[in-house]
């Protein structure tokens, strides 16, 4: 009987967690937006979440593009098709690596910070004091962070892809001697703006919502102890990464599966 009770308890726990997460999402995103008050808050959070993630995105984008240029070249040169390096680098960055790696890095760099910040606000009873002053913490604290994450991540993913393609150019063309003209022109023939670039942007918007939501909720729902905050931070990174990878398969199947 204990066994069944454990299963039941964990299911009920999961359901109520989902419910609390949905209430938070509704309260922060939909209920009574106050654009004049929240825009400065969103801009401040975009600085923390977006601008401060820029360095890691630029560096990893450049290096992933360079590695793909190098690896792609060593395989393609066997078939005399090293000119196809351009579309290989561009398509894999735009369709997959740009949105996915950005989301994973974002979960590690900004998501964990959001969770820790909000968790500490809860532990030090700042959220309760806001409520005491009749300020809704969902609107004042959670909402700007969610919006900032949702705005920032697609922009970061675009920057990641662009820098990665330049990194592939650096290795493929400038170092290994693929012809620069064919690197760009075969890429241009293969990449379609709506099918590839826009689908990548849609992917990263979905990832942005999921990752920021998980980060913010874990902080808001954390046990208000130092142990609880550390657990919530770990959970953010693990859950967000798993959600991104799982969703990526679903989105890829929907977007590119029927081709």
């Amino acid at each position: 009987m204990d066994f069944f009770a454990r299963i039941g308890r964990s299911i009920i726990d999961n359901c109520s967690t989902m419910g609390r997460a949905s209430i938070l999402f509704w309260g922060a995103m939909v209920a009574k937006p106050q654009p004049t008050k929240s825009i400065p808050l969103v801009i401040k959070q975009m600085y923390v979440v977006g601008v401060q993630s820029l360095l890691i995105i630029l560096v990893s984008g450049l290096f992933i593009g360079m590695v793909m240029g190098l690896q792609g070249y060593t395989v393609l040169v066997n078939y005399g098709a090293e000119e196809s390096l351009g579309p290989m680098v561009a398509l894999s960055l735009l369709r997959e690596l740009g949105p996915v790696v950005t989301a994973l890095l974002f979960a590690g760099r900004a998501g964990s910070a959001l969770t820790a910040e909000i968790g500490l606000m809860k532990a030090t009873e700042q959220l309760s004091s806001l409520e005491m002053m009749a300020v809704d913490p969902l609107r004042r604290v959670i909402s700007p962070r969610l919006w900032a994450g949702i705005f920032s991540m697609p922009l970061l993913a675009l920057i990641f892809s662009a820098v990665g393609i330049l990194g592939g150019h650096l290795v493929g063309v400038d170092w290994l001697g693929v012809d620069a003209g064919s690197y760009w022109s075969i890429m241009q023939a293969a990449v379609d703006f709506n099918d590839d670039v826009m689908n990548g942007v849609i992917k990263s918007i979905v990832f942005a919502v999921v990752v920021t939501w998980i980060a913010v909720f874990n902080g808001y729902d954390a046990m208000p102890t130092s142990e609880g905050i550390s657990k919530a931070t770990t959970q953010t990174v693990v859950h967000a990464s798993l959600a991104v990878l799982g969703l990526d398969f679903v989105l890829t199947a929907l977007m590119f599966g029927t081709e």
């Binding site: 400065p40 801009i43 401040k44 975009m46 600085y47 977006g50 601008v51 820029l54 078939y79 005399g80 098709a81 000119e83 561009a90 735009l94 920032s152 922009l155 970061l156 675009l158 920057i159 892809s161 662009a162 820098v163 393609i165 760009w184 022109s185 075969i186 890429m187 241009q188 023939a189 990449v191 379609d192 703006f193 590839d196 670039v197």
Partner: protein, 155 residues
């Protein structure tokens, strides 16, 4: 003072992202070729188009002058019809021009090779909607191997 630094940072971040989007649109996906610029259409019937795809290049002596717009089967004689969208700056090709489906390199992608014909008196130039009469189909490797085996069998 704090807010100003933040605003500058966010402004730079958004403009950087905008520049990246612009680069992806113009340099990587080449929107300008398909979107802007006046074009006209020519049609060509082939027996076999091989691996030709929509958006494949149309080239004159290696210079890209347009793209393949659409590929469909003619309703009456069941032969593939290829629509060629040619940039308006390359116009006035003579009526005697020929097109053939070629492959760039041994394993490369296929494109439409456009061979301008000689123009002399009485030859009109190709205008929007014209069909190019003289076409050469794609080289299908399997047919080639089949012919080779067949001719070997005679010995």
């Amino acid at each position: 003072m704090g807010m100003r630094k933040i605003e500058i940072g966010v402004g730079l971040f958004v403009s950087l992202a905008f520049a990246a989007a612009l680069m992806l649109a113009l340099k990587v996906a080449d929107q300008s070729m398909s979107g802007g610029g006046a074009t006209y259409k020519l049609y060509a019937k082939f027996d076999n188009i091989g691996g030709l795809k929509v958006r494949s290049a149309v080239k004159v002596g290696g210079v890209t002058i347009g793209r393949v717009g659409s590929i469909h089967l003619d309703a009456e004689d069941f032969t593939p019809v290829v629509e060629l969208i040619i940039s308006q700056e390359y116009s006035g090709f003579p009526d005697t021009s020929t097109v053939s489906i070629l492959t760039s390199g041994l394993l490369g992608e296929q494109y439409v090779g456009f061979q301008p014909g000689f123009s002399f008196d009485g030859i009109e130039s190709l205008a929007d909607g014209d069909y190019i009469e003289d076409t050469k189909s794609a080289l299908v490797l399997e047919d080639l191997i089949g012919q080779f085996l067949f001719s070997r069998g005679d010995d």
